[in-house]
Symmetry: C2
Amino acid sequence: MPTISTKGQQMPASPIRKLVPFAEAAKKRGTQVIHLNIGQPDIATPEVALDAIRHLDRTVIEYSHSAGYESYRKGLASYYAKHGIHITHEQIIVTNGGSEALMFGMMACFEPGDEVIIPEPYYANYNSFALSAGVKVVPVRSTIHDGFALPPISAFEALITPRTKGILICNPGNPTGYLYSQAELERLREIVLKHDLYLFADEVYREFCYDGATHISAMTLAGLEQNVVLVDSVSKRYSMCGARVGAFITRNADLYASVLRFAQARLSPPTFGQIASEAALNTPDSYFTGVIGEYVQRRDILVDGLNTIPGVTCPKPKGAFYCVAELPIDDADRFCQWLLESFSHDGHTVMMAPCSGFYADPATGRKQVRLAYVLEQPLLKKAVDCLRAALAAYPGTDKAAMAKAEAVG
Amino acid sequence: MPTISTKGQQMPASPIRKLVPFAEAAKKRGTQVIHLNIGQPDIATPEVALDAIRHLDRTVIEYSHSAGYESYRKGLASYYAKHGIHITHEQIIVTNGGSEALMFGMMACFEPGDEVIIPEPYYANYNSFALSAGVKVVPVRSTIHDGFALPPISAFEALITPRTKGILICNPGNPTGYLYSQAELERLREIVLKHDLYLFADEVYREFCYDGATHISAMTLAGLEQNVVLVDSVSKRYSMCGARVGAFITRNADLYASVLRFAQARLSPPTFGQIASEAALNTPDSYFTGVIGEYVQRRDILVDGLNTIPGVTCPKPKGAFYCVAELPIDDADRFCQWLLESFSHDGHTVMMAPCSGFYADPATGRKQVRLAYVLEQPLLKKAVDCLRAALAAYPGTDKAAMAKAEAVG
């Protein structure tokens, strides 16, 4: 029997999806599972996108250009211009979701063994793409105590080696929801220039900024034309995760040419998804006003609710639709599985993503979970009730810590 | 300015698409370009698939399971059973086209530096996937003189090293159209077992077999349960290249589990494409009867036509919708570019894929081109006329060889 490769063995299971079999078993027992584990919003996809699909007038579903339909790329360039990002359609390659953009970028920019610094906790699948490309993820720790702000530049400097070739940020952040300030981005700019690194900026949550905060794109940082790779996706913007349409964007012409050759090898991004995505560019602003208002209310219900549970810490994020909470427990992987296997409250339980998978060293996130506030408000209230009851019942809860927190609180 | 990785520099441009800028320039000059360079059929996608898209009744375009919708995978398992391939839906992972299935398979099965033997000429993009995975392609030469039949097993044996981990075949073949016999597959079975290799079988042209020939899947070879990886796609079967829906199939449970983790990292295959593909499973048999009849006529027009041109050799393939022709010219890359830049006949010219990119050593295919007979019959007749005139006019034509062939012929 032939062997599985080292990469094939090391490839981690998704922390977001690995508990799915336990959730399925819970459902079979009749428990309603509140899915806060995955960033799959219940928000309706814009009608304008669905209509384009329903009015499909083609008779042959052909390949598109390997970089994506030119008309869609031109539309995207206008969309970015509205967001203060000035690029041409010839600096955009449409990809199979943001995932493929990350994969192509890592392959084209980094040698096997090169190092990429990523503020942690970070989107778990970065580990998978890095492993595929043979790239070493070097985490720089951000902490829950300051809401997962950018670590000081000295912390980055301390990690730079001759193999350091890039920094990867997610802004607003998954899993933290943290939104970087102009000052933080300027600090990144300096270190990127100083060491001539690539700066990968995953900005798929651009639209989701709250409390009057505005998103600042890495593409607007002066002097980084050759360094910045923008990773984007329609998945969250238009609640169209299944379209699998993302984008790889760079002003670096050599890098663009290289990634286009990777794109040619896989022929083209999905035609149906591009049709929907191009139409979605005409989504009215009112859609986003409504969606953002809804997310703010959801965030407040979930985060404020979690913070009323003694011993629970959950910073209130200004972006995306995730939060990271630290719980008074022994082990979040165990707790999350226990919630699905052994617990229900009023017929409900909660599925969350243990944070172990969002850190380079799983032990670091042992007491943290990621929650996605992508469901309607009554379910989020129910989720908070469930978690309060679960922490009271779970054998691995640190009751002393809870009591102490309650006394202080 | 940060550097491009070695892979990023080495990634080849697609031989199928690299001449596109010349074709665009020709069109701007008013020349009609007959596209025989790419396997993009003009055949209509089955109505049943398009109808499913037009009748989309979802309000949120969600991710699917990372392995693809269970209902689709169950439908696929039934489809395969009808073709004598007995697998369960839990042995199928739906992918972003056959491309992703190849990519995942190479990553999960092979270490960087491992060797995979591929009969050449082979589908050019195998080079790209191998390069991405760090795998070394070891070509075993098939020749135009016997229609690109499987090379003798001794030729494979001579190439086996301690790093040899797999054999990759495309059946029916792209670019050759060659269909392997049971005896040829049994020979492959023996060497695969003897050296405990993976056997990757790209069978995306399964339906397209002519002259009463039947397709035999590598999945039906006894004793290879742990060895065979089946790569599939709906692109050609339903003339739905833009759906980007393929499949990775194996009975090897460890390998399946590994590839599923790669699949989780990129979340899910496209939802719209899966909806269309699931519906396409109900395509009536009459569709294929009609399409196959049409391809046979197209093949005969193109191949018979080419063989009437002195000095041109083109075996008549029994499968897929490509043929490889050897031309009396100095260099096919130069000739194909010249056709687009400097030639027209009755306002037409022909775009073909130079075979240099279909060989591990580009020099080997220097006089060969791949032609896809994916266009309607009058255009194929016109293409033959064009090529006859072009060979008479092209400065790099070997006129002596043509005259000699004519004298002999």
